[in-house]
Subunit: 187 residues, 2 copies
Amino acid sequence: MRVTREKAAENRERILAAAARLFRRHGFGAAGVDAVMHEAGLTHGGFYGHFPSKDALAAAAVRRAWAGSVERQAAHADLDALVRSYLAPAHRDDPGGGCVIAALGGDAARQAPGVRRALTEAVDAQLDRLAELLGGGAAARQGALATLSTLVGALVLSRAVDDPALSDAILDAAREGVGLRGPGAAQ
Amino acid sequence: MRVTREKAAENRERILAAAARLFRRHGFGAAGVDAVMHEAGLTHGGFYGHFPSKDALAAAAVRRAWAGSVERQAAHADLDALVRSYLAPAHRDDPGGGCVIAALGGDAARQAPGVRRALTEAVDAQLDRLAELLGGGAAARQGALATLSTLVGALVLSRAVDDPALSDAILDAAREGVGLRGPGAAQ
DNA sequence: TGTACATCAGTGAACGCGCGTTCACTGATGTAC
DNA sequence: TGTACATCAGTGAACGCGCGTTCACTGATGTAC
């Protein structure tokens, strides 16, 4: 059943969106090609007409997930707004729609080179964004590196622990922690 | 071929040590029962005489890995020493022998309840240790939460990116970042 | 202490299952005239 | 514009493979006498 070229392109987008969601929610290993295609409303056999391999899909899905983050972040005028949104319980509870770095950073080291490349590009871009919000310059770059570490670490930890109170406390403390490095803070 | 009770207990320890190493290095999903048993010098069939399931092994391996961290940390007299050791390239390059929270924190959210429980206990214990080094009290507890977030985030990121210079920069910046929260720092 | 036997830690083949990937086929789309 | 045919996006069965787990078996260990 051949479909319109337009429809095929739309299907490819749906596969990417499904992969970006499922990989972030379940990890690269636990989300299968079958599940991704089903989520996209297709059957698994057609997958290889769109992507040469699952690894290629993974790399493309990371870029797709990052692109979604860029749109979301455009709404944040300053670092405070970004941090509050990033360290919110709503973000913690929605890995499938959230930061790809926090969701897949731990897996990335063990993935194919293309996947690591895509994630590294996301890290680079996020650092640029943070450095810009910190006022630019070398000090801002340093601050961006430390801030991103705190943001990602807090989100990963808050998702890892099975104690809701501890999870909330991690987000709260990290919010205070990065505040210390914001513009106007001591040091 | 039955073996001595003593030898059997020693074999169980070897299985645990192998699991703690392989799970941290490759993740829970990518390290199989077969690989763990082979690393322990046994065949896979005997595994279920020691543990009821792979999930049970995973939980026990997390506790075992954490116990190893405690021994390692006993050598650090103050926060500076701990941070320098934690954010060292040698630690980044040895996930199999390093911090179990950083190595498996990202996977933990998707694991069986027992595994999350074991990792949460490790997080709790690490927070106690950090709070103690920060001088104790409520402020130290807050500082410990933020510090652990930065440490874990920096290690995860430094392992995720494929750019060695960026990886080193993340460790360096995070070292400075947590220094700001150390005793005697401004604020 | 020595003997006979029950116990059980470890072996290796086998199981069902889900995975990534391939492929013959279908039938609507795109194109040449 | 209409017709005939080549193209190809998607389908669903099938593949080889590795996984977690089970099990009949082995033979050294532990124990009862």
